[in-house]
Symmetry: C2
Subunit: 181 residues, 2 copies
């Protein structure tokens, strides 16, 4: 949808999450430990949930929440302790109870100086998650999104074209070998 249409539907773009890197997150390689990309992504998802109306009050009232069922991360560049890291989320796809969320990890300043690559920030990682709407009863069970939330998700969902252009995308991990000469 266009941003004008999104504005009409009462939905601004998904929030950009700005991560504060803690010194303990830097590992023996001198950069952000792989697992902490996942933690800032997890916090970014919390912000997305708030934005969609799946916030703490909703969760308490309905006993419904989102479960992460699958995650794929591409680590493209090292993140240094002084980097200004921000995460930009996009709804790549969705149905009545699932959200396929893509998240771009970008660095636009290092050591206090702007960092530009081809006029834009450096993409240091991409992450994709499959999120499932679950009612937490005695036994957790999937549940459809309420109408207001479904409408917000639909209004924010990327067009098929934009979703297809998003990447690098998740895939089967394997060592590809060149055929022997």
């Amino acid at each position: 949808m266009t941003s004008a249409a999104a504005a009409q539907a009462g939905t601004a773009a998904l929030p950009v999450y700005r991560a504060s890197l803690e010194p303990a997150w830097i590992d023996y390689n001198g950069h952000l430990r792989d697992a902490y990309y996942g933690l800032v992504l997890s916090y970014a998802i919390d912000d997305v949930m708030d934005h969609l109306g799946l916030d703490a009050a909703y969760r308490e009232r309905t006993r419904c929440t989102l479960y992460t069922v699958e995650l794929h991360t591409h680590y493209l560049h090292e993140v240094k302790a002084t980097d200004a890291l921000r995460l930009t989320s996009s709804i790549l796809d969705a149905d009545g109870k699932r959200i396929h969320l893509g998240c771009r990890f970008e660095v636009d300043a290092r050591d206090g100086d702007p960092l530009k690559v081809d006029g834009g920030p450096l993409t240091v990682a991409t992450g994709e998650v499959m999120l499932l709407h679950v009612h937490q009863g005695d036994k957790p069970a999937t549940a459809p999104f309420p109408g207001t939330v479904a409408a917000r998700i639909d209004a924010l969902k990327l067009s098929a074209e934009d979703s297809a252009a998003w990447g690098p995308r998740s895939r089967r991990l394997e060592l590809k070998r060149r055929p022997a000469q």
Copy 2:
């Protein structure tokens, strides 16, 4: 290779990592936050590195280390605060400078009681990482494993058959839809 052959090659199986769950890792859904599966996996990889001879002394001496370039996680079951969580790693594949590692997250006790499913522990998640051997000079560059490390990796690598049976495996994330009736 058989375990007898592995013993002959001077390589025991990869170490099993037993995770201690910190209370701060439990989220508003009442179970282990998605990102902390990644943190215990990251610690398990450190143990695997030590076992293969890629330990702190090696890293300091050679300025070589492993970079995580890609990660895929399947979250299969919730992990509770009291769960005894252990991670069992397998080398699914490898070449001269890359290791494709698979990790099974298992719970075999909950609230202090043994937890058995079909006579074995409950698999709560699987994770796969692609690890790349890198020399950290002025500019990081890939580097081949030294011979002793390559031999250990080769001795521990699963057979093609065992590797193919390992799962659930990484894949492209997407919402599959049934064709309209």
